[in-house]
């Protein structure tokens, strides 16, 4: 569905992404994990065609049917909605349908139906008529997902959708996204700086560090050898009650340990 191949991006002389390659499949939820400044948003901008990579490319493949709606649904990071905006949740979702087109949309039953369907898909019918700015963070995130899904994209990109959510909303949003990916056969790519909330539902992971990426299943990627190679120094991966914690290793200067791990990693990737 989404194929990213050998993408290099330099911004202001700084290399933000280096030789990044991965694939996101239909019906799967993929987590794009990396700390702040790892290049997650830049990577999204490349996929959206808003940033041109210095080399490599990102291709979104659609199905063969001719389509008028966009292939990619996108929810940016930290959308701040003023509670005083005279805009209901359903008005915002309707903008997801054709908000980029000029002119005025006359109300029609087809539009209303599409909006209702999208709102139902994220369990947002209950607060559909409330001002979107007055909703809680979790409710707003649902509305934003409905906004992105209403045009029936094949790929859904969400930039840090779990930031600023309380634990319960975080869990609800994660479950919702996994369900959307499965039921609507959409490729979902979520960025997050914390991978734990995504662990139970994530089909694949793309781990970004130092401008480089490693991708595969969690078991393949979240390993000391792979991540140490990515970070360029030794890191440990700790498992605590089903959660994963990545920490810098104690021997930052130990090049020998790192080389041993890289050799390890090389053999294990070949195998």
């Amino acid at each position: 569905m989404l194929v990213v191949e050998n993408v290099d991006v330099r911004l202001g002389g700084r290399e933000v992404l280096r030789d990044v390659s991965f694939t996101v499949h239909e019906g799967e939820l993929t987590g794009l994990i990396g700390s702040n400044g790892a290049g997650k948003t830049t990577l999204f901008r490349v996929v959206l065609g808003l940033t041109r990579p210095d080399s490599g490319h990102a291709v979104v493949r659609g199905d063969d049917r001719p389509r008028t709606s966009p292939l990619v649904g996108y929810v940016p990071q930290k959308i701040e909605l003023d509670p005083d905006l005279p805009l209901r949740a359903r008005d915002l979702v309707a903008l997801g349908l054709d908000g980029h087109r000029f002119g005025f949309a006359l109300p029609s039953s087809a539009r209303r139906h599409a909006v209702e369907e999208a709102l139902d898909g994220v369990d947002a019918r209950r607060f559909a008529d409330a001002r979107v700015g007055t909703l809680s963070g979790g409710e707003q995130q649902r509305v934003m997902i409905a906004y992105a899904l209403v045009s029936h994209p094949r790929l859904l990109l969400l930039d840090e959708p779990l930031a600023n959510l309380d634990l319960r909303s975080e869990q609800e949003v994660v479950e919702l996204l996994a369900r959307v990916a499965r039921e609507q056969r959409i490729a979902v790519l979520i960025s997050a700086h914390e991978m734990n909330p995504l662990l139970p539902v994530m089909d694949r992971v793309v781990y970004l560090a130092g401008g480089r990426a490693a991708s595969g299943t969690t078991a393949e990627v979240v390993r000391p050898d792979v991540l140490s190679r990515l970070y360029g120094h030794h890191v440990d991966v700790l498992h605590v009650h089903g959660r994963v914690i990545v920490v810098a290793g104690p021997t930052l200067g130990s090049d020998e340990a790192l080389r041993a791990e890289q050799a390890d990693a090389a053999t294990s990737t070949k195998a």
Binding site: L85, G99, G103
Partner: protein, 313 residues
């Protein structure tokens, strides 16, 4: 019934030519300002609206000096001002704010010179009053068609931009991700606003035009939940304020000091203010109620969350 009509509408109201022009021009301008104003409120651009109309003063007073309708002066200067505001300091909001303030000050300096010449050289002693505070009754019947055409142009621009403008006003990030040319849409909207502001500066005065732009829209934003209903509500409020203002001003010829009517603009702006304050009352009352509603519906959810956390420990 006839008594009531004659009590509200002073004799001669329906036969008066200036009243007819004022009603048509005032009504049309109020409607367009209200629709444009909803976006001004959503985008938080009332300062830009105010700056545009105040800069228009320079054009209005200059037009008086050369003997053309102040309307042309308002339109020309505010459209040029939009271009100037776009050219300076677009990148940084703070720089833009300062640049607007400086250009704005320089324009008002010019206006002071023009108004002085209007009164001294051209002996138009009422110029300052007319430009700054407007005079709906001096709208000549020949300018009414021009007012209607310019109003239609402003409205058409907003309707063409409607969806991308609404998306960009909600969140420029969402809009640019959808490929909306956010900056271009913003400039287009500023042009529509420049036209609306010029028209209201011409009718109720440069200083008061922001009231007609922002007042009904802000009131409507308090009372309604969707953009469309906000626009309809704002239009109704703006038109009612202007028409009622015309009626009251006409009546005021019989009020002390007898024989000198009170300015229309005073009534219009006062009514807009009263509407805004009144709209705030049910809201405060309502918000008290929804506050308790929310906490009660959320209570089980919150309790559940707390229990969940406690349970895990």
């Amino acid at each position: 019934m006839a008594d009531f009509v004659s009590l509200v509408f002073a004799p001669g109201f329906f036969e008066s030519g200036p009243v007819a022009s004022a009603v048509v021009a005032g009504g049309v301008v109020a409607a367009v300002s209200a629709v444009v104003g909803v976006f001004t409120v959503m985008r938080g651009q009332s300062f830009a609206g105010h700056a545009l109309s105040d800069m228009g003063t320079t054009g209005g007073s200059g037009a008086f000096l050369v003997g053309v309708s102040p309307l042309w002066g308002f339109v020309t200067v505010s459209v040029v001002a939009v271009a100037a505001m776009e050219l300076i300091g677009i990148r940084r909001p703070r720089g833009r704010d300062v640049a607007t303030g400086i250009v704005f000050g320089a324009a008002l300096g010019l206006a002071a010179l023009f108004l002085y010449w209007d009164t001294t050289v051209r002996n138009a002693s009422g110029a300052a009053m007319t430009i700054l505070f407007g005079s709906l009754f001096t709208v000549s019947s020949s300018t009414v068609p021009i007012v209607v055409v310019l109003a239609a142009a402003s409205l058409a621009l907003v309707l063409v931009l409607f969806r991308p403008l609404l998306l960009a006003s909600t969140s420029s990030d969402l809009a640019s991700a959808r490929g909306v040319p956010v900056r271009l849409v913003g400039i287009g909207y500023l042009l529509a606003m420049a036209l609306a502001v010029s028209l209201s500066a011409y009718t109720i005065g440069a200083i008061l035009s922001t009231a007609l732009l922002v007042g009904p829209a802000a009131t409507a934003a308090r009372l309604t939940k969707s953009p469309l209903s906000a626009m309809l509500c704002a239009t109704a409020l703006g038109v009612v304020a202007v028409l009622a203002g015309i009626v009251l001003a006409y009546d005021s010829y019989g009020w002390p000091p007898v024989g000198h009517g009170w300015p229309v603009s005073f009534f219009v702006v006062t009514l807009i203010f009263v509407f805004y304050v009144l709209a705030g009352i049910p809201r405060r009352w309502r918000s008290g109620h929804t506050g308790t509603d929310l906490s009660t519906t959320d209570a089980p959810r919150r309790a559940h969350l707390v229990h969940g956390l406690v349970g895990k420990r």
